[in-house]
């Protein structure tokens, strides 16, 4: 298959650059070496430290059970790589095949892997975001700083946003005995990912653990005192929450700004790529030397109607990185598609939450095992008569079965008896997701010009 020997040359003495030195970047680099890549390997990362693991940052670290500094990811093999840490990539010249760094340096490549991930969405008002006591939680430093502040015993903690990270933070604070208010714009915690039926269970969990949960409200302003410390938050329902620690947990932004103007198909939703992780340029044409993996990648998934999915899941980062690395060193017919079934987990209020598939694509949910009232159950999501996702609250060991149903496009509702089926599980319910027709992102590409020959596509940021 190796027509002109170029692939062999690449493997022997090519240059591969990985931008993004976190989970996906590290695992991709390891895979490249596993697959026999003997050339020069460079990893570029904007943080000064070597790759670390993030899941403990919102759980064990906040509980004081683990130190943020000691979350380094295990190395699966020796890498023999050049590490350019503490320097962000600031630009990409696709024609010259070079990555520009913040210090002005340029790194040439034959193959490039982009795994720059996401960052925490900051509080939109900069002056308020700068108040002492206002945090986000994404990096090791964020987590260490927040853990220190929680150690000091604040009067009250306000968490803005009740997605997975926000809920985990609230849970950790309650476990430490700290008074917590959670403000969530949606109707319930986790509602975007798991829908209203499961969101109602999450809301009960918050309240049973003493969280002052306020749903359907937004925080409109943060107020500081004379010394610049946060003191209170104004809510859209007119109420005020007195607080000395605020954690802004409003999801993530994809780290793609550095690619603006490069011509790569990158924007606020991530880097569009094909199922083999090869990035598209903004014309929708696949590149052959630039790959993307992890949180920043957005690729079509065969199981989910070839919808372009971007997933901020640990397992997704690992499997996508491995596929990208494999494909970088393979002839076209040997390339593999990224077909991992999405899966994630969370741990909050003593409950282990796990999910497979894409629950948020589901329109209906069937509680096939256990009971919502006990907060121990398995919910199967249905979409157009097939099983599309499943979520387990303290029932994770059953998930491989439901994953098989998803993989085999099994009918929904599943027509068979299972152990522990309760009366409430006899009929599917409306999964109660927020209306997807309300857009959350604007257009990212605009067209100009008249004749086909001079029509141009321009990237339009829509943050």
């Amino acid at each position: 298959m190796d027509g002109d020997g170029s692939l062999e040359r690449l493997k022997r003495d090519g240059r591969i650059v990985v931008v993004g030195a976190s989970l996906a970047g590290l695992r991709a680099a390891e895979t490249l070496r596993d697959k026999g890549f003997a050339g020069s390997l460079t990893l570029i990362g904007d943080e000064a430290c070597e790759p670390y693991d993030r899941p403990p940052l919102s759980k064990q670290v906040l509980l004081g059970r683990a130190s943020a500094e000691r979350t380094a990811l295990p190395r699966l093999r020796a890498l023999d790589a050049t590490w350019r840490l503490g320097r962000a990539a600031t630009g990409l010249d696709m024609a010259a095949r070079r990555v520009r760094l913040a210090d002005g340096d340029e790194v040439p490549y034959d193959r490039l892997l982009i795994a720059t991930g996401v960052r925490a969405r900051p509080w939109p008002n900069e002056a308020e975001a700068d108040l002492d006591g206002v945090f986000v939680l994404r990096t090791r430093d964020d987590s260490a700083a927040l853990a220190r502040r929680l150690d000091a015993g604040p009067e009250r903690v306000l968490v803005i946003g009740a997605g997975f990270t926000g809920s985990e933070i609230a849970s950790a604070c309650r476990e430490r005995g700290l008074p917590v208010t959670v403000a969530e714009r949606g109707a319930a915690p986790l509602v975007g990912a798991l829908g209203g039926v499961v969101g109602a269970v999450a809301a009960e969990m918050h309240r049973e653990h003493g969280v002052d949960l306020r749903c359907g409200v937004m925080v409109t302003a943060l107020e500081g005192d004379a010394s610049g410390r946060v003191r209170a938050a104004q809510l859209s329902d007119g109420s005020t929450v007195e607080t000395d620690v605020v954690i802004v947990s409003l999801g993530a932004l994809r780290n793609t700004e550095w690619l603006a103007g490069s011509g790569l198909g990158a924007g606020p939703r991530g880097i569009a790529c094909d199922a083999g992780c090869r990035a598209f340029d903004i014309r929708g044409i696949v590149t052959d030397d630039i790959y993307a993996a992890g949180d920043v990648a957005r690729s079509p998934h065969a199981l989910f109607g070839y919808q372009f999915l971007s997933l901020e899941h640990w397992g997704n980062a690992v499997s996508q990185a491995r596929i990208a690395a494999h494909n970088m060193l393979s002839e076209s017919t040997d390339r593999l598609p990224h077909m991992e079934v999405p899966a994630f987990w969370s741990s909050q209020f003593g409950v282990n939450i796990k999910s497979v598939g894409i629950p948020s694509m589901g329109t209906e949910i069937l509680v096939s095992q256990g009971s919502l009232a006990d907060h121990r159950f398995l919910g199967v999501y249905g979409y157009q008569g097939r099983v599309i996702g499943a979520v387990a609250f303290d029932h994770g060991r059953w998930l491989p079965f439901y994953q098989e149903l998803i993989e085999t496009t099994a009918p929904f509702p599943p027509p068979f008896a299972t152990v522990d089926r309760r009366p409430e599980g006899q009929r599917p319910l409306d999964a109660d997701f927020p209306d997807p027709s309300i857009p959350t992102h604007g257009p990212t590409v605009t067209l100009s010009g008249y004749s086909p020959a001079d029509r141009r596509m321009t990237f339009t940021p829509a943050h």
Binding site: G370, S371, R376, R397, L399, F401, E404, F416, V419
Partner: protein, 411 residues
């Protein structure tokens, strides 16, 4: 006349090496003879059925049990209820969860790890006591007393009572073996008696722990007040009986199979002697290569289930032959080779799904300690008999004795 495959599995003549029969069995991944069980022998099918909620562990769901209880069946009061091993959710989940509180994370993350010192002392004491190195019966002198001592300490059962519960445990373990030659009624009667006597014995202990609780698991189970409320006395007795029996009947075989395998693979034994850390991958590979629980015979379908094109009807009995799945060449390269360096070893030796081995963390640690220390201290050990004599049991398979000799015992 050729024996059916099912009979060959159970036939004692094949106990020392059942693997050729498993290989034969895997040619039809869903094997079914007359009114026998549906026997599943391939890795992926077993793995998927272990996670299948249409499969029940509760014998009451068997079609043959659906109508009237068989004549002479023990009434509710005369016996212990089934342990959580033989229950489905939600009862299973509740009892397993409550039992896990004093045993593992998140509530007792250090329980097993905290026993390292004790495990070391017990192992050392047993090896010190071996005496004549010319003729050692490893089972009698080491593999049996070690886990029994450990489970007794963990539960808070007096070690001196071992001779009493040994008989009951033997009877109950034997009852797990679907031995075709035994009279089922008689066997069940014997097992019920043993369960009852074991229950009465444990009831006395628990009564005493309630009054005078210690740090042991029986005390903690007897006085637990978690979200799930307390266990009933009957639940407590079944659970304690389950832990006591499962807590040693399996580890004995894992340790013995382990030493047998190492003696058959002297290069690996040599490596272990040089580096005790190798015990970790060795034990994992052992759980694949010679698992103490060869098959799970207690599963029932709650619905018609299609497996590899065969429909297993509702109410059918299903056997999952874990040891065969572990040697499935579609899953493991060169499966009949003992290779502790395998990079990917997700074996079925401890099961999977909600019934995956409860005591796994302890069994692993015990066996790692045992093999590393035996490798270090026994000088030039050799088998005196290969294969050794096996126990009758086809389910809990392991040597009855393992005679070996060595040049001496290092301090």
């Amino acid at each position: 006349m050729t024996q059916s495959l099912l009979h060959q599995i159970l036939d004692y003549a094949n106990r020392a090496d059942p693997y050729p029969i498993y290989e034969e069995l895997r040619k039809s991944p869903v094997h079914h003879e007359a009114d026998g069980p549906y026997v599943i022998s391939t890795y992926y099918e077993i793995r998927s059925l272990l996670h299948d909620p249409r499969i029940s562990s509760d014998a009451r769901n068997l079609a043959s049990n659906a109508a009237e209880p068989p004549a002479g069946a023990p009434s509710e009061e005369s016996t212990l209820p089934p342990g959580f091993l033989k229950l489905d959710p939600p009862e299973h989940d509740r009892l397993r969860r409550m039992t896990n509180r004093p045993f593992g994370p998140p509530h007792s993350p250090h329980r097993v790890d905290g026993m390292r010192g004790e495990l070391h002392d017990i192992v050392t004491g047993l090896i010190d006591g071996i005496g004549d190195p010319d003729r050692i019966d490893l089972v009698e002198q080491f593999s049996y007393p070690f886990p029994v001592t450990v489970i007794c300490r963990l539960l808070g059962v007096p070690r001196e009572d071992e001779t009493r519960f040994h008989v009951w445990a033997d009877t109950l373990a034997a009852n797990l073996d679907p031995d075709p030659d035994a009279d089922p009624a008689e066997r069940d009667k014997g097992a019920q008696d043993a369960r009852m006597q074991l229950g009465m014995y444990l009831a006395g202990l628990i009564e005493e722990r309630r009054k005078n609780p210690g740090e042991d698991m029986l005390s903690q189970l007897a006085t637990a007040k978690g979200d799930d409320g307390p266990m009933t006395t009957m639940e407590l007795l079944s659970t304690a009986a389950l832990l006591l029996i499962a807590g040693h009947e399996t580890t004995v075989n894992l340790i013995t199979n382990g030493m047998l395998t190492l003696l058959r693979n002297p290069d690996v034994l040599q490596r272990l002697r040089a580096d005790p850390r190798l015990a970790v991958p060795i034990v994992e590979e052992l759980l694949r290569f010679e698992p103490p629980v060869q098959l799970v015979p207690q599963r029932t379908t709650l619905a018609d289930i299609e497996v590899r094109g065969v429909t297993i009807p509702k109410g059918a009995s299903v056997w999952l032959v874990l040891a065969s799945g572990n040697r499935d060449p579609r899953r493991f390269e060169d499966p009949d080779r003992f290779d502790p360096d395998r990079p990917d070893i997700q074996h079925l030796g401890l099961g999977s799904g909600i019934h995956s081995c409860f005591g796994a963390p302890l069994a692993r640690l015990e066996t790692q300690f045992a093999l590393a220390e035996l490798a270090r201290r026994l000088e030039n050990p050799r088998l005196l008999e290969d294969p050794p004599p096996y126990r009758q049991n086809a389910v809990l398979r392991g040597p009855r004795r393992l005679h070996l000799t060595c040049d001496g015992i290092r301090p």
